[in-house]
């Protein structure tokens, strides 16, 4: 039986790990490669690097981080942040990423996702959907860390991205990100039930019960969290044990 994936995410800026609360007030806390090795040893199912300031600053530092990580961690690595061109994707994959996560560029030019999937295969194209509740049970896609509304309905958008060749959807609730109040379950469930591809739930994890709820109630195939792991509130192994105890199929011990 396929196992539920637990994916620790490292927000990286200038080659260093950071984690923001609602994308501001950043705290610098460590070397991403050391963190990645720790997560690897603890049994993380995949790793995710998000180059959070990639839209604004020189991003060559990320290639070195990816290359050093790929030398030591033999597990899938997804890298997102500022992925705008086929050449960006090629460079990330050559550095050692296995998947790239496309966010703003998909909204600006949806056909980019189609081109990327054709060129590199759906298996390495993740589309990141950042959504906020706009009332009435509707969710809208936002870009630029939740600052810019797009007018796109999140469910219809996720479906379109899957049709265009996205191999999975990384869904982040911008209402919940950084709040530790748990995933937005209605959002997660609406998207997970609407698309044929796997959905990674993200944004708002504060407890291990939140991880369980994302899969059990939100129907996500995988859960992503940053701060609970990064600040050591919970270890990866604890998270997986709690999820297994709740009856979810988890990979443990190998």
């Amino acid at each position: 039986m396929l196992k539920v994936r637990v994916i620790p995410c490292l927000d990286v800026k200038d080659g260093r790990v950071v984690k923001g609360v609602n994308f501001v007030d950043l705290v610098d806390a460590g070397d991403p490669v050391e963190q990645a090795k720790l997560y690897d040893a603890e049994g993380a199912d995949e790793l995710c690097f998000l180059d959070i300031t990639a839209s604004h600053e020189d991003r060559d530092t990320i290639f070195d981080v990816i290359a050093r990580t790929a030398e030591q961690c033999f597990m899938p690595l997804t890298v997102g942040g500022g992925v705008r061109t086929v050449e960006d994707i090629r460079k990330l994959l050559l550095a050692g990423a296995d998947k790239v996560s496309i966010n703003t560029a998909a909204v600006t030019n949806p056909d980019f996702v189609r081109q990327a999937a054709l060129k590199f295969g759906s298996q390495c194209i993740t589309v990141a959907v950042d959504a906020k509740s706009v009332g009435g049970g509707r969710f809208e896609v936002f870009t630029h860390g939740g600052r810019n509304a797009t007018g796109l309905d999140a469910v219809a958008w996720a479906q379109q991205m899957a049709e265009y060749g996205a191999g999975e959807i990384l869904l982040t609730s911008m209402d919940r990100d950084g709040t530790k109040q748990g995933f937005d379950i209605p959002l997660t469930r609406a998207i997970s039930d609407a698309v044929p591809v796997p959905v990674i739930a993200s944004g708002g994890v504060g407890t291990l019960d939140h991880l369980v709820a994302g899969v059990r109630d939100g129907h996500a195939s995988a859960v992503l969290a940053a701060s609970i792991f990064h600040f050591g509130t919970y270890r990866i192994g604890e998270a997986k044990a709690a999820m297994a105890a709740a009856g979810l199929p988890m990979r443990q011990g190998d």
Partner: protein, 219 residues
């Protein structure tokens, strides 16, 4: 020192495959020169050949065909020269007679099977199962005793990401399976050839073990 050629035909992340081979060789004490290459002279002299592959079957086949002489060199070395061969993911699928992804594409006809889209049964609660099959799934090896799987146990997890899979004509060439709303062919083998649908280079200790076994394999 042996040379291992990881064939570069424009498909996917070869760096992670090369690094996994380097690590496995180092840890198992094997002296190996790992070459990521599309140079036919290197491939023709290699002691082992690895064909990775991600994306679509037809694209990968076209990628092989774009490297002039590669298909013939592979046939010469793997079939007539009996050089140990490992196909990974679509590299394994190319060992089939044909793939039916978007259109019908001929494979190498090294194993007796075809590649079709997976159609997993629904989840227990009736929700459709997601495609691609993506993530960690335990291997069922059963009674298969193959040197490349030595030390791997039933239930060891491997990392999969694919929407198409091999359907073998008979169980003779089947080395391992996984369950995803039905049986998934996880590994195939015949003579000097093995193929894995999963990614050993992404499967942590289990994958490194399989790679070390392949490096030390004398078919």
């Amino acid at each position: 020192m042996q040379t291992i050629a990881i064939i570069d035909y424009g498909s996917g992340n070869l760096r992670s495959a090369a690094q996994a081979f380097e690590r496995s060789a180092r840890e198992s004490g094997a002296s190996a020169d790992i070459q990521v290459t599309d140079d036919l002279s290197v491939i023709a002299r290699a002691d082992r050949i690895v064909l990775p592959g991600v994306g679509a079957f037809a694209d990968c086949r076209a990628g092989v065909d774009r490297v002039e002489g590669l298909r013939d060199t592979l046939e010469e070395r793997v079939i007539r020269g009996a050089v140990p061969f490992l196909g990974i993911c679509v590299g394994m699928q190319l060992m089939a007679r044909a793939g039916f992804e978007h259109l019908t594409t001929e494979g190498f006809s090294w194993v007796d099977g075809e590649v079709h889209r997976i159609e997993p049964a629904a989840e227990d609660d009736g929700r459709p199962r997601k495609v691609p099959h993506m993530g960690w799934n335990p291997l069922a090896i059963g009674g298969v005793d193959h040197p490349v799987l030595a030390g791997l146990r039933d239930g060891d997890h491997a990392y999969f990401v694919h929407s198409y899979a091999m359907r073998l004509d008979s169980a003779d060439q089947k080395l391992a399976t996984a369950d995803y709303g039905g049986e998934i062919c996880a590994a195939v083998g015949r003579d000097n050839m093995v193929g894995t649908q999963f990614h050993p280079e992404k499967s942590q200790a289990t994958g490194l073990r399989l790679i070390a076994n392949f490096i030390g394999w004398t078919p």
